[in-house]
Every structure is written in structure tokens, then in C-alpha cells.
């Protein structure tokens, strides 16, 4: 991977401000990508369902059977998906709960994108957040809640930031490409988590499997009773606003965006590209660390306690975060929206697998497809020619200079 080009390249997928005239095309492209992804998902679901497939065996004698079965299957599964995410107040709060870490980690990836950095390391950073958040959660006892929760969150953010900062530091000082170093750091963090869980420091007394003790109730994020709406979701919204303010309204954000768009010009203008890189990666890591902490401190529905720290605790949040950031086009508001969408899909996926016997992995597939189509707008415009750039068809208007294009 060439070091120089990578930064500029990434920016192309994380556009700052598109000209207003082109905005609706962006929105339309995203919507079409969504529809397309669900369509493909539906096809995969139908052709891999033995019941439906058996009806296709006699498709030519009674096509109605096969098509009917396929339609029923799709309605059942997607219906369950919607019910599970939006069907009731409980479902909606499940969506917000699932969206919370996605938004925070997504902000981490998005912020890094805006600095021209591709942070694949959300996974490792979130793992550190979970490790530290859980440890403070279960090892400190007798601390008041007003102290315990902030302490756990701040330490989790700090460790996430440090883990992200390593990649930033390596990039700034040695030019090590952050894509490679964060991938490797993910695996190291995962390995360390597995190791910690069999040490006395972390392992639940009396257990032989790798699992930690339950966190103290003083460290559990408060929630609206009987639902899954918890303080973490508000923190996620707050974080989104903070990131927006940082990027659009502060000198640091100005520098981050400048470095993201053109590190050479930023350096020539006196900015320290290395410092901005380290700061941006640390902030990104901190946000992912927050996401990880939320996963071990947010109460579950039944027990009203969070899940205990285990080796798979953060799932694939780091990779989900990439999809969230891409769908949200690296803008805080977009990331909140994308986080809610994917959170809803996760929430609904559980219902779908229970009610329609369709494995929840389908949502992971659809999620990947959405991002594939969103990140390849050329593919969508190829499918839907109406979205193509109209400006070439109207030769009279454009104020563009001749010199630029023909040079």
C-alpha cells in the first residue's frame, strides 16, 4: 500500500461537503443501495430455504406454489425483522440499545476517516474499552454510582484512546500504514482478552471457562425500567454532537479535516500532520473504547445486569462500525442514522430467527451488501442510469474554468 495515496483515497469515500445540487443524488443512491441489499438478501434467504426450494422443484407445473411460498417466506422474515425493531416500545428500546455501541464506534471510524485515516482497529479499541470497563465495574466495590460509572467509562475511553493512539503514533513517526497496524492490533487485543480471562485477575472465582465476574450494580448504566433504553444511548447522541462540533467548529477539527483532505497542504501551512494523526486516532480509539465499555455496562433486558466479560463480548463491533461510518458518510448525523438502522436490524434479527426460523446472520449479510453498494456509487448509477451526472447534459451553465479540465 502506498503511504501517500492512501490518505487522499480514503477521503473520497468520506466526503466532506458535497455540492448541494448533488446531495439528492447521494440520498437516492443510498436509498437504492438499501433496497438492493434487502432484495439480494431476500433472494439468498429464499433459495437457501429447503421448504421453498422444494416447491421450486415443480415450478413449471404449479408456479404459484413456489412464488407464493417465496413471498410468504420474505413477508414472514422481514415482517419479524420490523416487528422486532420497531413493533413495540420494547422493540424500539432494543433498537436504541443495539445502536448505542454502533454509533459510538461508528463515530470513531468516521472521525478517523475525516482525518484521512482508515481505522480498522475499532475492534481492538472496543475490546480494551470492554476489558477496562468491566474490570473497574467488577473489581471496585462500595463506590457510589456517581463515581463508579464515570470512572469506568473514562478509563475505558483512555485505554481505547491509547490503543488507537499506538496506530496513530506508528503512522506519524514511522509511516506504518494504519490499515495494517490496526488489523494486527485487533488480533493482539483479542488474544490479550482471551489470556486475561484465564488469569486470576479477571476470571470469575470457581469457574474454569474464560469468563469474568458480574459487574457491581453501581457500575451498571441506569435505564428506563422495563426497557432497554439506557444512559449509554444519550451518551452516544452527545458524542455525536461533540464530534460534529469538534469537526465543524473548532481549530482542531479544521486541522483534522485539512489533514484528511490534503496532508501535504496541511503540512505546508504549518500544521503538524503527525500530531493531528495521533490525536485523531486517539479520539477515534476513545470513541471505540466507549462503545466497548457500553457493551459490558449496559443492562440486558432480563437480568437487568450487563453480560459478563467473555472472549466474544464485543462481537464484531469494530467491523460493524466501519459499515456504520461508510453508510453515514462519516458525518455525525449520518452515523447516528446508520447506527440506528443497523441497530434495528440487529434487534429485529433476534425476532426474525425466533419467529421466522431465519438465522439472524442474514442481517449481517444485508449489512455488508448495503455498504458494498453504498461505497460503490458507480455501481448503483450503472444500475440506475437516471442518477448519472446531469451536468454534462447542460453545457451552458457550468462556470468551471477551461484551464482546469483540459490541462
Amino acid at each position: 500500500m502506498t503511504e501517500e495515496s492512501a490518505a487522499e483515497k480514503v477521503v473520497t469515500v468520506a466526503p466532506g461537503t458535497a455540492p448541494r445540487s448533488r446531495r439528492w443524488v447521494g440520498v437516492a443512491t443510498t436509498l437504492i443501495a438499501l433496497v438492493l441489499a434487502f432484495l439480494v438478501g431476500a433472494v439468498v434467504m429464499v433459495v437457501s430455504d429447503p421448504n421453498v426450494v422444494s416447491k421450486f422443484a415443480y415450478f413449471f407445473s404449479r408456479p404459484g406454489d413456489a412464488l407464493g411460498a417465496a413471498w410468504d417466506k420474505v413477508v414472514l422474515a422481514f415482517g419479524a425483522l420490523i416487528r422486532g425493531s420497531l413493533g413495540s416500545w420494547g422493540a424500539v428500546t432494543e433498537t436504541t440499545a443495539q445502536a448505542t455501541p454502533l454509533i459510538c464506534a461508528g463515530l470513531g471510524v468516521g472521525l478517523a476517516f475525516r482525518a484521512g485515516l482508515f481505522n480498522i482497529g475499532g475492534q481492538g479499541q472496543a475490546i480494551w474499552g470492554a476489558i477496562v470497563g468491566a474490570w473497574i465495574g467488577f473489581s471496585l466495590t462500595g463506590v457510589p454510582m456517581a463515581l463508579h460509572i464515570p470512572l469506568a467509562l473514562i478509563c475505558a475511553i483512555a485505554f481505547g484512546a491509547a490503543w488507537g493512539g499506538i496506530a496513530g503514533f506508528l503512522k506519524a513517526r514511522t509511516g506504518a500504514h494504519e490499515v495494517i497496524s490496526t488489523i494486527m492490533l485487533n488480533h493482539i487485543a483479542g488474544g490479550l482478552l482471551g489470556y486475561f480471562l484465564i488469569t486470576p485477575l479477571f476470571q470469575m472465582p470457581g469457574r474454569t471457562d474464560p469468563i469474568s465476574p458480574q459487574v457491581e450494580w453501581t457500575a451498571v448504566l441506569p435505564r428506563l425500567a422495563g426497557t432497554r433504553l439506557h444512559v449509554g444511548f444519550l451518551l452516544a447522541l452527545l458524542a455525536a454532537f461533540a464530534v460534529w462540533w469538534l469537526l465543524e467548529r473548532t481549530t482542531l477539527g479544521f486541522q483534522i479535516r485539512a489533514v484528511g483532505h490534503n496532508p501535504h497542504a496541511a503540512e505546508t501551512a504549518g500544521m503538524s500532520v503527525g500530531r493531528v494523526t495521533i490525536v485523531a486516532m486517539s479520539l477515534a480509539g476513545g470513541l471505540a473504547g466507549l462503545a466497548g465499555a457500553q457493551m459490558v455496562l449496559a443492562p440486558t433486558l432480563l437480568t437487568s445486569y450487563p453480560p459478563q466479560l467473555s472472549s466474544g463480548i464485543v462481537g464484531g463491533v469494530g467491523f460493524d462500525a466501519i459499515t456504520v461510518a461508510l453508510l453515514g458518510r462519516s458525518r455525525p448525523l449520518g452515523i447516528v442514522g446508520a447506527g440506528l438502522l443497523f441497530g434495528a436490524m440487529k434487534a429485529g434479527g433476534l425476532t426474525m430467527s425466533a419467529e421466522a426460523q431465519t438465522p439472524s446472520e442474514l442481517t449481517a449479510l444485508i449489512q455488508a451488501l448495503i455498504v458494498l453498494f453504498v461505497a460503490a456509487p458507480k455501481f448503483v448509477t450503472w444500475l440506475v442510469p437516471a442518477l448519472r451526472d446531469r451536468r454534462s447534459a447542460r453545457p451552458a451553465s457550468a462556470p468551471k474554468s477551461k484551464k482546469e479540465v483540459s490541462a
Binding site: T251, A258, M271, S272, A398, K400, K402, V405
Partner: protein, 513 residues
């Protein structure tokens, strides 16, 4: 020479090419006649390169025909162009740096059977051609290790290896020393005398007059005239620009106010550790313009970068108004009063995806902020004032800089750098790729800055620019200064100095001519 390679005329007729709203080529007709050198003369962005990319099959024309003799060509790929005997020496060399000369030469038409690569045959071919045209190229050298002049010869060999009858040279002289330019012209003449048709694309009037048999002038995508090689430079310039041009800048004698920038034993290494500026001693006084002349790649750009603080200084000192800035990073040199106009503005000068307003405060956002929070109104007001002052042609201060023309982009850069008091202005190739109208404006502003008492250091490879701006000229060659001479030094002397021959010897040789 009597041997004729071909006797058919290559004709581009009525070529039209549009990019969106822009018509880059508007019904252009050009004939390439065997045994003649045809010059295509035009400013940067006039549409010359577009035309040649169409001829070489890299772009498809919207309208018009290309034919050889009576045969019409459909050049949809460079492969077809090559098959038709068209060869091209590209402005940005189309060579693969990590390949050897032989590998580059045969790429795309490799010798060998059963899919195997026969590099022995490739080497032989390089030697044959190189001997035949006396080009002296080592087939096993890696291209990235060759001097630019030799790389260009490899480009020429590539075209000849394909037996090109119609050879296009796209702005070939930009990176060459005056001596290398002379050698190139000799090669072009030799190829012409063999009966090949040569198309020479340039914006340098002097070269056109030296070598052309036919001249076609292009402006804004249209053929605006044809001229004889005997036409005077001012006639050609007027045709090219569309109005009478004042090539000289009006300026008074410099009011020198004493040394501001002092370099002693200044030595710079590039990122690979090569010494690129070698024990340089130089001073620039307030109120004067010192031009660093030289062929590209002799350390001028690295000198400028090291003064800004983006390349490491390995020995010596630099002081600005008595303050040591030798190892200061850009943030500090800028704070010390250094204004910097970089060589490659697309890369270093501005953020294309930022608005004009944002770019105008790129080097000092903290001055437009209140404890870290940007004052958007101040940024916007500043932008309106600068746009007015520097006559930046734009739809508004929110427009992205990447959407501006080259000249207006450069105005944005200069407006940013000149909108605060400076001790030293460094401008590297300040008018490269800029149209003539903007050049006059930019030169005027630079002289105004000089008259304010600022020390001005200009790096330029264009002797025209050096002559019109400089109060003193320092010629650089291989990282060192060959000599510092007055602005009225004859061009021949400067040319020899640029090739590393010291001024006293240079004067003698020039007077021998």
C-alpha cells in the same frame, strides 16, 4: 539523408472534444507532413495535450477524422495508434521506474516464444537503436536511477522501437538543461531528415523558432493562426495569448534594506538521505528579489522546502532577521514571518475540498478562533476582502478551490500568504501552469511585496520569469550555487551556468560563439 520512412501525410481534421461544458478542442485541423517539424504552440490548457491524446488513442474525439493518406483511422486505443505508426514522447514520462531500460522498451510487445520473456533480445534491441541514433543508453540500468535527460531518451527509443513514422513530442523541454534542449533539437532534426513527421508541442516561443518548419497556434481549443518560423517572438506571443503581451514587469530599482535571510553552509538531505543542497552560502536582503535559477531537480525545491522546515537540514544555519530557523518546523518558520508559495500548488498549496474561505486561513486558523472555536463570520469576512483585493474569479467564498482555474487557485495561495506582514516570501514556480493574464497580476503583487521591504526568494526554471522578476540571480547546479549574477546577464551565460560551468568560464565560452 535520402531514405524516406513514409511519404503520407497524417491529417487531423475538424477534431472536436468536449468535457462537460468545456470544449477543449473546437474543430481543429492539423497536418503532419513527413520530413517536417510541425509546432503546436499554445498556452497551458489551450487544448494541445487533449488533441495529442486523441491522436494517440487515449481519448476519443466527439467529432472529426484522423487519416493517413486516403485511409481513415479509428484510433480507439493506443495500440491502434501505434499500429498506425504514431509514437509519442510524453510530457510525464510513461516509464516504469523500477523496470530496466530494456524491460521498458519492450513492454507491450515483448520478444520471446511460448509466453516466455526474452530479455536478451530486448537488450540487443536497446543497443541497436541506441547505437543507431547515438543515444548512449544502458539497457540494464533501472529507469529510476537515470537522470531525467536520459529517461527522455528512453521515451524516444520506445517510440522508435515501434518504428513510429509520426512522432509527437509533448512539452519535452521542461525538465532539460539548455544544452540538453539543444541535443534534443538535434535528435528531432535527425529524425525529420530520415523522413519522419514530427509534431512538437510547446509553449516556449524560442524553441519554436529554433526548430519549426510549420507553426500552428492554438488558443482556447481553437486554431487561431498559422505562422512561419521567421515570425518574431512578440508576434507569436500575441497570437498565442490573443492580445499584446507585456513580457516585462514594470518595477523600480530595489530599495535594499539589509540582510534578512542568511544561509551559511546550508546543507539539506532528502528523505532517502541524499545530500541535495550542499553547503550553500546565500543572503537575501529586504526589498530585493533573489531568483534561484536552474534546471529542475538541482536542489532548488529542496532548498525552499528545507527553509520552510519540511526537509531536514543536516549542516549549516539559516537565520531570518537574526532568528535561527535552521531546524524550525513549518509552524515556527511561518510564525517567524515566512510566506511560502509551493511549487506544486495542487499538492501543497491548498486543500481542494475546502472552500476558498477555509483555504484563506489555512496557515493560521487560530487567529480566526476564540479559545479553539472557529469564528465563522470572521473567516467569511476575511475571504470577501481577499477575493476583492486579489480579483479572484469565483461564484462566492464557499466555492471549493478545486473548482477554480489554475490562475485563480494560485491567487488564493498568494492572497493567503500576502495577507499578513512578512519578513521573507519564498515562491517556488509561482506562475507554473497559469495563464498569461494571471501571470502579469501575480508578478505585480510579488514586486509590491518586495517594495514593502520583504525579502523575496523566487525559485523558477523559466528564464523569462527569472529575467523579469530578479534583482539578483543565483544559479543552482547539483545542490550548489554556481554563481550569483545581475539580472542582465546574457542568457547564454546563464545556460552554461545552469549546466554547472562557472560564470567566468561561461562568459568566455559565450563570447567565443
Amino acid at each position: 539523408m535520402t531514405a524516406t520512412v513514409t511519404d503520407q501525410v497524417l491529417r487531423l481534421e475538424g477534431i472536436t472534444k468536449r468535457f462537460g461544458a468545456l470544449t477543449a478542442n473546437d474543430s481543429i485541423t492539423v497536418d503532419l507532413v513527413p520530413g517536417r517539424i510541425h509546432c503546436l504552440l499554445g498556452e497551458n490548457g489551450a487544448g494541445k495535450s487533449t488533441l495529442m491524446n486523441i491522436l494517440y488513442g487515449l481519448l476519443e474525439a466527439d467529432d472529426g477524422t484522423i487519416s493517413i493518406g486516403d485511409r481513415e483511422l479509428h484510433l480507439t486505443s493506443s495500440k491502434k495508434a501505434m499500429a498506425a505508426g504514431i509514437g509519442m514522447v510524453h510530457q510525464h514520462f510513461m516509464l516504469i521506474p523500477v523496470f530496466t531500460v530494456a524491460e521498458n522498451l519492450v513492454l507491450g510487445r515483448e520478444p520471446g516464444s511460448f509466453g516466455l520473456l526474452d530479455l536478451g533480445a530486448a537488450r540487443k534491441k536497446v543497443r541497436e537503436l541506441s547505437d543507431r541514433y547515438k543515444l548512449d543508453v544502458d539497457p540494464d540500468a533501472l529507469v529510476e536511477n537515470l537522470p531525467v535527460g536520459v529517461q527522455q531518451r528512453v521515451e524516444i527509443l520506445k517510440a522508435l522501437a515501434n518504428d513510429a513514422h509520426y512522432l509527437v513530442f509533448d512539452e519535452p523541454t521542461a525538465v532539460l538543461t539548455p544544452q540538453e534542449i539543444d541535443e534534443l533539437m538535434e535528435i528531432m532534426r535527425a529524425l525529420r531528415d530520415e523522413g519522419r513527421a514530427i509534431c512538437f508541442i510547446t509553449h516556449k516561443l524560442r524553441e519554436v523558432r529554433a526548430v519549426a518548419d510549420d507553426i500552428t497556434v492554438i488558443r482556447r481549443g481553437k486554431v487561431v493562426g498559422r505562422a512561419e518560423p521567421s515570425a518574431s517572438e512578440s508576434e507569436l506571443a500575441e497570437l498565442m495569448v490573443g492580445r499584446a503581451v507585456n513580457l516585462k514587469v514594470d518595477k523600480d530599482q530595489p530599495q535594499r534594506s539589509g540582510e534578512r535571510l542568511v544561509l551559511e553552509g546550508f546543507t539539506v538531505a532528502d528523505h532517502a538521505g541524499h545530500i541535495v543542497v550542499d553547503h550553500l552560502d546565500l543572503t537575501v536582503e529586504g526589498g530585493e528579489v533573489l531568483c534561484v535559477a536552474g534546471v529542475q531537480g538541482n536542489g532548488q525545491s529542496e532548498l525552499a522546502a528545507a527553509l520552510l522546515g519540511t526537509l531536514p537540514v543536516v549542516a549549516g544555519t539559516a537565520t531570518l532577521d537574526g532568528v535561527d530557523i535552521t531546524h524550525a518546523p513549518p509552524k515556527q518558520t511561518i510564525a517567524a514571518g515566512l510566506g511560502f508559495v509551493p511549487e506544486d500548488r495542487q499538492r501543497d498549496g491548498f486543500v481542494g475540498d475546502f472552500s476558498i474561505a477555509e483555504n484563506l486561513v489555512l496557515n493560521r486558523p487560530q487567529e480566526f478562533a476564540n479559545s479553539g472555536n472557529l469564528k465563522l463570520k470572521d473567516i467569511s469576512r476575511n475571504a470577501k476582502e481577499r477575493i476583492e483585493e486579489f480579483d479572484i474569479r469565483t461564484s462566492g467564498e464557499d466555492q471549493f478551490v478545486k473548482a477554480l482555474s489554475g490562475g485563480n487557485q494560485q491567487k488564493v495561495v498568494l492572497a493567503r500568504e500576502l495577507s499578513r506582514p512578512l519578513s521573507l516570501l519564498i515562491a517556488n514556480q509561482p506562475t507554473r501552469g497559469v495563464d498569461v493574464g494571471a501571470i502579469e497580476f501575480l508578478h505585480k503583487r510579488i514586486i509590491e511585496e518586495r517594495d514593502r521591504g520583504t525579502a523575496v526568494l523566487i525559485v523558477s526554471t523559466e528564464l523569462d520569469e527569472v529575467e523579469s522578476l530578479a534583482d539578483r540571480i543565483a544559479v543552482m547546479y547539483r545542490g550548489g550555487i554556481v554563481g550569483v549574477v545581475p539580472p542582465d546577464t546574457p542568457r547564454e551565460v546563464l545556460g552554461l551556468m545552469m549546466a554547472g560551468i562557472r560564470q567566468d568560464e561561461g562568459t568566455e565560452e559565450a563570447s567565443d560563439d
